[in-house]
Amino acid sequence: MSDLEAKVGGSTEELVIEASEALRTRKASRIERIGDHLRNEWQLYVMLIPTVVWLLVFLYKPMYGLQIAFKDYSIFRGVAASPWVGLEHFQTLFGNDQFLRALKNTVIISFYGLIFGFPMPILLALMFNEILAQTFKKTAQTIVYLPHFVSSVIIAGIVITAFSPSAGIVNTVMGWFGIDPIYFLTKPEWFRPIFVGTGIWQEAGFQSIVYLAAIAGVSPTLYESAVVDGASRWQMMWKITLPSIMPTIIIMLIIRIGNMLEVSFEMIILLYQPATYSTADVVNTFIYRQGIQGGQYDLAAAAGLFNAVVAFVLVMTANTISKRYSRTSLW
């Protein structure tokens, strides 16, 4: 203000100009700073807009559409105009044997996947680590990673062919031992072993990469000192390598549990048939049949919402635990 007072001789207008000049060269106001920022960085926002708009249109708008889970949805009225029905669909669902069965199957199949599928990549990584012949190791790795990149339709095609009752290799081999052919894919009791086994066959190799990376981070001096102490390879594998990658194992376990409900339903759609629904039908395949094939959009959306909320809680819990455990967040 002292500058201003010193200029009493000038007109008011001049004073105002002087004042704003002074302000401009001194401290920029908040609005001016935002203006400067936009003038210099507007291109950043241009880059961001397509992604944000895409997210809004393709992922957030469906979240708005989730309200049909509480509505009597009619295609003609649209999402907003359809009348509210409260929790009616959820009541229907929890009185629906098929939905409850799908829920049960989801948990059981996930659980099998966890018990049999989780240790496999760890074991593979430990074993790969013990292989000294580099060419052999590289070749073997190249092959076991491959199924991950093959589409589920092809995998399902292979499974269907291999387990076919007349021509399939599995029944052929069983025939050598005098066992009668079994039409595996129509037998409910065979669905889960085949599905979980296929999953392990397809993904175990690829999932071992994470553990191999963790093993690569173990300091070689640990092994050197163990050798000096007279440890065998077997002992080093269990006493050094495994404990060293334990943090990674635990984080992967937490992620896995967080994604419990993410059963690869695409594969189930390809492999199951009405005869095996009793053990094969999971929540997402139930939603697919009821909603997309059956047109009961509101009921299916309610099942989807239930699924998504449980999955969200699981994932957030897993992330929180993992953060606390390792001080690294998963995202």
Partner: protein, 293 residues
């Protein structure tokens, strides 16, 4: 520690058993592919009789002739190329600038925008609302719908954003002082510096596009627009459901098994061709995208 001579007897035994076990697992991974390849080149009769074990029996390319003479095979193959190339380019057009903007500390509301991306990885509305939304947008049965509808995914954005964040700030600052604007910084500095990460994202997109099946099946009714995977699924489902048709092929030079095996082989080949590139980048990609300090 690579000198076997230094090993004790027990260690040598351990190493050998380990190698045998790995070899067995590797062969069990490889075998189904060999089996399918052999099946596709065997006669329908031998295939039906279950005589194909390892190598083709009664070698014939009849199944391939059948597959390649089907117009729908060719149109679906072409469609898959359209979806893969178009979809991957579309993804990069969205993801590269988006990830760059999200990686810049000066971006206003950066935490909010990043949360907006991450949230889609934790929670999604599910199949039905997504489907209804695509229908409301008029994107059913449309090439454009398939290409745009799956252009962005949170994992790929975050993967690339993490990579951009790892590039020292001084590269951007140096370029800015040299007079570059944000587009120039991205295009002339960050993109060339991030080739491996961009290649990783592109390969992820290519693989998921090539293999994409479920949404193509749901969103596309018009047979002229379906991709290879949906066509393959159709063939397998139709042939295996139609036991009568399958049996009628019993004595022919090809059978349901050999025909579907032949389509499988045709559809795997492009993945095998890019597999060396995939292998170079994907392990880095997993580690880059997953866990962040």
């Amino acid at each position: 520690m690579t000198n076997m001579n230094l090993y004790s007897r027990g260690d040598k035994l351990f190493v050998i058993i380990n190698m045998v076990l790995i070899a067995l697992f590797t062969l069990s991974t490889l075998y189904p592919f060999i089996y399918i390849a052999s099946l596709s080149m065997s006669t329908g009769f031998e295939a039906r009789a279950g005589n194909v074990i390892l190598t083709p029996v009664g070698f014939t390319l009849e199944a391939y002739k059948q597959v390649l003479s089907e117009p729908l095979f060719w149109s679906s193959y072409a469609n898959t190329f359209i979806y893969t190339i178009g979809g991957t380019l579309m993804s990069l057009v969205f993801i590269i600038p988006g990830a760059y903007a999200l990686s810049r500390p000066q971006l206003f509301g950066r935490r909010f925008w990043n949360l907006m991306v991450a949230f889609t990885m934790w929670f999604n509305a599910g199949l039905i609302p997504f489907f209804l939304n695509m229908r409301d947008l008029g994107l059913l049965d449309s090439y454009f719908g398939i290409i745009i509808g799956f252009a962005v995914n949170g994992f790929n954005i975050i993967l690339l954003r993490n990579f951009f964040e790892g590039i020292p700030q001084s590269f951007e600052e140096a370029a800015r002082m040299d007079g570059a604007n944000e587009f120039q910084v991205l295009w002339k500095v960050f993109v060339p510096l991030s080739k491996p990460a961009i290649a990783t994202v592109a390969l992820f997109c290519i693989v998921s596009r090539w293999n994409g099946f479920f949404w193509a099946m749901v969103l596309l009714q018009d047979e002229d627009k379906i991709p290879l995977q949906v066509y393959l699924r159709k063939v397998i489902a139709e042939l295996s459901d139609d036991e009568e048709f399958a049996t009628s092929l019993l004595t022919a030079a090809y059978s349901f098994e050999t025909v579907s095996a032949a389509i499988i082989v045709c559809s795997i080949i492009p993945i095998l061709l890019i597999y060396p590139f995939l292998q170079k980048y994907f392990s880095k990609g997993i580690l880059l995208g997953g866990v962040k300090e």
